[in-house]
Amino acid sequence: MSEFFHMGGYAFYVWTSYGIAFAILLINVVLPIVRRQRLLRDLRRTKSRKTT
């Protein structure tokens, strides 16, 4: 198993690549979700202002 993480001496390069890839994919998922929350909050606020 430690041999697997060692990656034949290239551990730093390989795991940094996979780590950055994971982070970037995650950001791509999180950003639209954040947008959704903000948008829905704002829309609810404007709608309730209109009705009252």
Binding site: Y10, Y13, V14, S17, R35, R36
Partner: protein
């Protein structure tokens, strides 16, 4: 004809919002499954390379993201052209939602390339035709995003950024053929050349699976981005009110 009708319906904001909402969970599950299979085959099953040892495993990230950087650009430019010519609102939304996703794939391709170049070539970065044209692609994406953000009025912003996206499409064939037209430090094509791919099947399989995973991933995050953009743009429509009511009840 039925396909045309489907797209015609799909292009209406309300239908797009509804249909994409029901597609996302399935596509997300597919992405996750493909990523897990790809990573398993790429990290555990595929043997080391005869020349590059274990370091070549960066390929399973690097190559799909580089392919996606070009594919997403073509989708963006194509959607921008459709939006400009036929004035379809949804096409502009697709184009502008693709830009940040494409930029992130381009960034990932450049960074993982750098992390692969250092141990194999002996340099983090070189100014050869392939690397330089890919860097220009990143700047094109950022330029499209900046231009879109620069205009107060949405339609003007979409047109200006769309035109830049279409103009920049010329860079796509340059990137692809750079390794054949000029001598570069970057290698030539392994998979997309005319004769059989010069890669062992045990390494090709995870590469292609990761590429499909990245493509489906792109569709998922594109739909996610586009949905909320559509909802924002259509907030005065009745169906948005209905949706909000349905959410809070």
């Amino acid at each position: 004809m039925r396909l045309f009708r489907f797209f015609h319906r799909f292009a209406s904001p309300r239908e797009f919002f509804r249909i994409s909402g029901s597609m996302i969970p399935w596509l997300a599950a597919t992405t996750l499954l493909l990523l897990l299979i790809g990573l398993y085959l790429g990290l555990f099953v595929a043997p080391p390379d005869y020349q590059q040892g274990e370091s070549y495993r960066i390929m399973f990230i690097h190559v799909p993201s580089a392919w996606m950087s070009l594919f997403v650009y073509m989708v963006m430019a194509g959607a921008a052209a459709i939006g400009l010519i036929w004035r379809i609102k949804l096409a502009h939304v697709i184009a502008m939602s693709s830009a940040p996703i494409g930029a992130s794939f381009t960034f990932l391709a450049l960074v993982t390339g750098s992390l692969w170049g250092k141990p194999m070539w002996g340099a983090w970065w070189v100014w050869d035709a392939r690397l330089t044209s890919e860097l220009i692609l990143l700047f094109l994406y950022l330029g499209v995003m900046a231009l879109y953000a620069a205009f107060e009025e949405r339609r003007t912003a979409q047109r200006a950024a769309g035109i830049l996206a279409i103009v920049g499409v010329i860079n796509v064939p340059i990137i692809h053929y750079s390794v054949m037209w000029w001598n570069t430090l970057h290698q030539g094509p392994t998979v997309t050349k005319f004769d059989a791919p010069s890669i062992h099947l045990s390494m090709l399989a995870p590469l292609l699976i990761m590429a499909v995973a990245f493509t489906v991933f792109y569709v998922v995050v594109l739909l996610m981005r586009a949905r909320w953009e559509v909802l924002d743009q259509e907030q005065r429509s009745n169906w948005v009110d209905d949706y909000l009511e349905q959410l809070s009840s």
